[in-house]
């Protein structure tokens, strides 16, 4: 079982459209995992039916009980996140600011502070309209700990893939280079980078590739909207060559992508011509490279 992560650095390059297309093409072989837990969109194209939905708790948050508090200010002095304030004479924790470090809990002389586990989001296992399993999640409003939720989604996907003897786990990751991205990548077998030939696209590709290089994961790249700027597309190819990253495909800028999304379909179901053929060929290349690992 091999884990393939679709990644982009920059948002809006077509990552989810391409991941969902791969899922439509290879559904029987894979478990899907939507690790863009901040803004998960995979379910919009795969129309999943929930098999399991459960609350996801992660980290802690402090609560100061009014009874017992002797107003000694020790908690306020201890807190490095300015999360505790005095409101109408009561010491109150702002859950939005509380980091869950328990420092206040340890210094409270009257044991008036309790640390409760924090509801950080929801976690789902669903069956897609392609017949395969999708593991996805929804981070709570203004919640922290997206990295931990990503890890939870991947672990669950791995378990299910083992049970179902799936060949692949296909992961849709979030944009950026920080904690949720690293949580999506660590220990994966292969990365499919999706980029666009713009100054921002190249800039973000170079940064995210540095992260991948550090983790030593084999990588291929798809250039989407390749005809927007041929010069930038050539620059992107030069970068790929320099780094020895195989080019998995070049897709044109085409309204078929948006049209497909608008009716809740993947572009390979909507288009039966050039784009479908190009994405099929990319998926074939991905599988060839992954099967060699």
């Amino acid at each position: 079982m091999k884990e393939i992560v679709v990644l982009s650095g920059k948002g809006g390059t077509g990552k989810t459209s391409i991941t969902a297309s791969f899922a439509a093409l290879g559904a029987k072989q894979m478990v899907l995992a939507d690790c863009d837990v901040d803004a998960a969109d995979m379910h919009l194209l795969t129309a999943p039916e929930a098999i399991l939905a459960e609350d996801f708790y992660s980290g802690k948050e402090a609560l100061i009980k009014t009874e017992g508090c002797v107003h000694c200010y020790k908690c306020i002095k201890a807190c490095h996140f300015d999360a505790i304030s005095v409101i109408n004479g009561d010491f109150v924790v702002d859950p939005m600011e509380c980091e869950g470090c328990s420092y206040c809990f340890h210094v409270c002389p009257t044991r008036t502070i309790e640390m409760n586990s924090r509801l950080a989001g929801k976690f789902y296992v669903s069956k897609t309209r392609f017949g395969n399993t999708l593991v996805h999640a929804r981070l709570g409003i203004a919640a922290d700990n997206s990295g931990k939720l990503v890890t939870k989604v991947r672990e669950e996907a791995k378990k299910i893939a083992a049970e179902q003897h799936s060949e692949y786990i296909l992961v849709d990751a979030s944009p950026g280079i920080g904690c949720p991205v690293v949580a999506s990548l660590t220990g994966a077998h292969f990365v499919v980078l999706v980029t666009e030939p713009t100054v921002s696209g190249i800039h973000d590709l170079e940064r995210v590739y540095e992260v991948i290089e550090k983790l030593k994961i084999k990588t291929g790249c798809i250039i989407n909207k390749v005809d927007i700027n041929r010069e930038m597309a050539n620059k992107t190819k030069d970068f790929l060559k320099e780094k020895g990253i195989p080019l998995l495909g070049e897709l044109p800028y085409d309204h078929q992508f948006t049209k497909a999304i608008t009716i809740g379909k993947t572009v390979v179901e909507y288009d039966d011509g050039v784009i479908k053929a190009l994405i099929e060929s990319s998926w074939k290349k991905v599988k060839e490279l992954v099967d060699k690992i």
Partner: protein
């Protein structure tokens, strides 16, 4: 005044709106006002690709993390038991601190009976300030590759702006995508948050998440629809339903996509877009006017 430009979904046009709004304002605002554009998408900062200026100031940003002092440690294991972030491993004959996991809460350091866990600075990125014209300034914070926590750098950058925020300055924040801690930190001081979206089911879905987040933060919000003309009308219906003002519709033009790909400013060459961005600013003024 501080205007934050955010979005749930990435790639909807936050940077395009930020750089073009900043440029337009710097060209037409009254004489004693300056514009500061601050790129707070520290993981992938892009505004600087569109704006070239003279470097005024540069500083390395650090955050404090725990460090183990072997000589003072008596191996009582208290630190490892206190840490809620699994950043300290007690191995019997030594203690290991994982700085990437440390949340800089100081609990282990302050509560260690032997003072064996001093807090030391750890580099996380760089903040740079540029002058583009007498009226337009640009600030960028950039997270080092390999650093996972973006929020502490955003917090320091926000405080840096707060400290230097002059009376007659309009601050425009280019925020990170998403709905979690980085964007929440970036918009904290904003008087209004513009949520940029595109008229597609992805755009709508991620917009609803961003709206929920901003409403939880009790922020004054308005929506800008970019790539207007593609997709469908569902974003407009949603905004009408929720009574969220749509203060701009930036048309989907191939010419704009071309110029964006080269790192060029749109308001100087595409009149349609200039008019729409000016319109967005007039609406911001109306929405941020103190109520009588």
């Amino acid at each position: 005044m501080q205007i934050a430009i955010a979005s749930g979904k990435g790639g909807t046009g936050k940077t395009t709106l930020s750089v073009n709004l900043a440029t337009l304002l710097s060209q037409q605002i009254s004489e004693n006002t300056t514009i500061l554009l601050a790129d707070m998408d520290v993981e992938e900062p892009n505004s600087g690709l569109f704006l070239k200026g003279e470097l005024l100031h540069s500083e390395v940003k650090y955050r404090m993390v725990a460090d183990w002092d072997e000589k003072k440690c008596t191996f009582c294991e208290r630190c490892a038991n206190i840490c809620e972030f699994n950043a300290i491993a007690y191995l019997g004959i030594s203690v290991m601190v994982f700085p990437e996991l440390c949340h800089s809460c100081y609990a282990c350091s302050d509560l260690c009976p032997e003072d064996a866990l001093p807090m030391i600075p750890r580099r996380m990125g760089e903040l740079k300030e540029y002058k583009l014209t007498d009226r337009l300034f640009f600030m960028e914070s950039r997270l080092d590759i390999g650093v996972e926590q973006a929020t502490p750098l955003i917090e320091q950058s926000r405080k840096h702006i707060k400290k230097s925020n002059a009376e007659n300055m309009i601050v425009i924040i280019d925020a990170p995508p998403g709905t979690s801690c980085p964007v929440i930190e970036a918009v904290k001081d904003a008087d209004i948050v513009l949520l940029v979206t595109e008229p597609t089911p992805f755009g709508l879905h991620d917009l609803t998440l961003a709206v929920d987040t901003m409403q939880e933060l009790k922020k004054n919000i308005a929506v800008v629809i970019n790539k207007y003309g593609i997709g469908n009308r569902e974003v407009e219906k949603y905004c009408a339903d929720k009574q969220i003002p749509v203060i701009g519709k930036i048309p989907n033009l191939k010419e704009a996509a071309m110029m964006y790909s080269k790192g060029e400013i749109l308001v100087d060459s595409i009149p349609e877009i200039r008019t729409e961005i000016d319109n967005i600013y007039q609406n911001i003024i109306k929405l941020t006017k103190p109520k009588q």
